[in-house]
């Protein structure tokens, strides 16, 4: 049984089709990424999976249950919404205590989960400060753990690192990797390709409400990213180079090849001195560029 199954999902807002015939599955314990630019339909998809939005067509099944609005299913899902869903006038502890109460946590169990969440987010020292005084990164971390209080096996994270400093981003990554190691199912949306590459076992690339490609990261790179790129900057441009292909840009020479080391050896045979050499593997950015003709952050 899949942890999440999405079949032929469709959602429109007037003339705008936000999600268009979307289908994918997420296995239990898998970290699955929805990668796409802003407006690709990622948040709408999450909204339909958790039952906050009603799809125009299609089907969502979470943990074998096709109605995600049922309380029993909602207790198995944890969500960190893209918008900071926190009460600024309450403290971190009060926010967590309140959200814990909504999930039926009470007494010692709730107190224990609140303590866990504060430790997990690294906010134990600031637990009695009002959230309005927190940095953006601290609020993001709290936003994340508010969705984990009830210990859900399925976690949906909607752009959880938007607008945070590198330190908080790393803290969030480590937290998600911990959740992954614990065997939880994670659906992660982002428009940062490096996040998808680092955290996700499989990635679906979305644009204009559709999935353009879906596979493991290395498979996507192989299929759509192209061969690694070798770039050499010569001290003096050699008269001739015994390598087929490649393009020159002044003293800089670039070529794509599945055997970059061999290319490098051949270039060295030309006898010219190098100033700079790099071998770049294709990225999901390249995959997106190949699939859409646009960059992710366009």
């Amino acid at each position: 049984m899949h942890a999440i199954e999405v079949a032929s999902l469709r959602k429109s807002y007037g003339a705008l089709t936000a999600v268009d015939d979307l289908s994918f599955t997420v296995a239990p314990g898998e970290a699955f990424g929805l990668l796409g630019p802003n407006g690709a339909g990622k948040t709408t998809t999450i909204g339909m999976i958790v039952g906050a939005l009603s799809p125009d067509a299609g089907r969502v099944v979470v943990d074998g249950e096709s109605d995600p609005t049922r309380p029993a299913i909602r207790r198995r899902i944890g969500v960190a919404p893209q918008a900071l869903a926190l009460y600024q006038e309450l403290t971190a502890e009060e926010n967590l205590d309140f959200f814990g109460s909504l999930y039926g946590l009470a007494g010692a169990r709730r107190a224990e989960r609140v303590r866990w969440a504060l430790d997990f987010a690294g906010l134990a020292d600031r637990r009695r400060d009002r959230v309005g005084g927190y940095s953006g990164g601290m609020q993001r971390r709290l936003n994340l753990v508010c969705g984990l209080l009830h210990d859900p096996p399925v976690i949906l994270l909607d752009e959880p690192t938007v607008g945070v400093d590198p330190q908080s981003r790393n803290a969030i990554f480590e937290a998600i990797e911990t959740l992954k190691r614990e065997g939880r199912t994670i659906l992660y949306t982002t428009h940062y390709m490096e996040e998808a590459e680092r955290l996700c076992d499989r990635v679906a690339i979305m644009d204009h409400g559709k999935i353009l490609a879906i596979d493991r990261v290395d498979a996507l790179l192989r299929a759509y990213g192209g061969a690694p790129t070798v770039e050499i900057e010569f001290a003096d441009r050699p008269a001739s180079l015994d390598v087929n292909g490649g393009t020159w840009d002044g003293p800089r020479w670039r070529v794509q090849s599945e055997r970059p080391v061999e290319i490098l050896q051949q270039a060295m045979g030309a006898g010219a001195a190098f100033q700079h050499v790099s071998i770049e593997r294709a990225t999901l950015e390249d995959v997106f560029l190949r699939l859409t003709g646009r960059r992710l952050r366009d």
Partner: protein
């Protein structure tokens, strides 16, 4: 139910933490009540007291006292027979009456029995007014006495006649005769000396230790008779302004929670509430419960402060509780409707305040219902503020019984229920 309570308590905590909201919910209504109450006459101590004067003595002395009372800036007097005066006080049309009974002029009102002297009739609950009126009447007595001892006043002759009459009265025992005789002689000496020394004021210390405003033989025969009012009108301006300010407390809570619903929707916390394993109706019920409890608390605080600080009467605590609860319920429904008027806090606040101002203007939140012209009172029937104010006034000074309160409360409950049902449905439909 736990989730509903959790949401309600969270919202109340947020309300308490927002000083601005708290001001509009509590501070503003109290300020409004105090401000309009004070410019409308406040506690009544400085207001002109409407009283009836009854002269059954028909002597120059009683005429002089009546004239003094009529000349007082603190009183608005009207002459009336004693029965009519009592009726007017009982109906609350007048604060009290001053009756100079037959024989009041004898001995300048000193001595005599319960059928003579001067009678002040006033509601026993009007303690401040009673003492104030007693002081004014005493002053009028002594000013009249002083006038009698001036040239041609006949005061000394009257004292001599009184002394003779007292001496010949077989019904008075010897000890009392001695006391009264001494008092009259002291009075004669005192008033004569006072007149010749041109000292202003008529209530100075008397020789021989007698006190002009004392009781028994030591002062004028001045009695206060308790006339219970029928609670048919407000006694002070605060009794009008505090029920009116209830409208502002309700409006403050209503607007605060309506805006908070929209604010939560745009900030994302509402989404987290909806993703919790509770129904949408429970989320809105939690919001409604918080608004209801906040309204109850705000209105109760306003009325209790009015009762403690400004002595407003509560004629029926039970009906007041019903009125407050019904008004709070009604404005919880109004809050739900207002929350549907826009998709941003600014649009909800703008539309909400516009409607609230109109309802308040026509419903007694600004101009008291009692002071409205007839046509405006008809217009006010369309304002829910009117029914909230009327229900509280009914329990405070209008003297409503259940039969009068029930129609008003029914309007509030029906409107509240309609608001909750319609508002909840519209808000739920927007979540799809």
């Amino acid at each position: 139910m736990n989730a509903i309570w959790a949401i309600a308590l969270k919202d109340l905590r947020l309300l308490l933490r927002d000083k601005g909201d708290l001001f509009w919910v509590l501070g503003f209504p109290i300020l409004i009540a105090f401000f309009f109450g004070s410019i409308g006459g406040g506690g009544g101590k400085r207001a002109v007291m409407p009283v009836a004067v009854v002269d059954q003595d028909h002597t120059p002395y009683s005429a002089a006292v009546v004239a003094r009372l009529k000349a007082s800036d603190a009183l608005r007097t009207q002459e009336a027979p004693l029965d009519s005066a009592r009726l007017l006080v009982r109906r609350g049309d007048l604060v009290g009456y001053v009756a100079l009974l037959p024989g009041a002029g004898e001995n300048f009102g000193f001595g005599g029995d319960s059928t003579s002297g001067i009678e002040i009739g006033i509601d026993p609950r009007r303690t401040a007014e009673r003492e104030y009126l007693r002081g004014l009447v005493t002053a009028a007595i002594f000013q009249s006495m002083r006038g009698s001892f001036g040239a041609g006043g006949g005061g000394r002759d009257m004292i001599q006649r009184s002394l003779e009459k007292l001496r010949d009265d077989p019904s008075v025992d010897a000890a009392t005769k001695d006391r009264r005789s001494e008092l009259l002689r002291s009075l004669d000496r005192f008033m004569t000396a006072l007149d010749s020394s041109s000292v202003d004021g008529g209530a100075g210390a008397m020789p021989g230790g007698a006190t002009p405003a004392g009781e028994d033989d030591g002062g004028p025969n001045l009695r206060v008779v308790e006339i219970a009012e029928a609670d048919s009108g407000p006694r002070t301006a605060y009794e009008v302004t505090f029920p009116s300010s209830v409208a502002w407390a309700l409006i403050g809570v209503c607007m605060s929670f309506a805006v908070s619903i929209v604010y939560e929707r745009i900030t994302g916390t509402f989404l987290r509430l909806r993703l919790a394993p509770i129904g949408r109706a429970q989320v809105l019920a939690g919001k409604g419960l918080a608004a209801f409890l906040a309204s109850l608390a705000a209105v109760t605080v306003v009325i209790v402060l009015g009762a403690i600080l400004f002595k407003i009467r509560v004629s029926s605590p039970h009906l007041l509780a019903v009125a407050i609860a019904s008004s709070a319920f009604c404005f919880t429904g109004v809050m739900m409707i207002v929350a549907t008027l826009g998709r941003t806090p600014a649009s909800v606040a703008g539309a909400g305040w516009a409607i609230m101002m109109i309802m308040s203007m026509t419903g007694g939140g600004m101009v008291p219902l009692i002071a409205m012209p007839e046509w405006m009172q008809r217009v006010s029937n369309f304002s829910l503020v009117k029914y909230a104010v009327l229900s509280v006034e009914g329990a405070v000074w209008r003297g409503f019984g259940w039969s009068e309160m029930l129609p008003v409360v029914s309007v509030l409950l029906i409107a509240g229920l309609a608001g909750i049902v319609i508002g909840t449905r519209v808000l739920e439909s927007r979540d799809h």
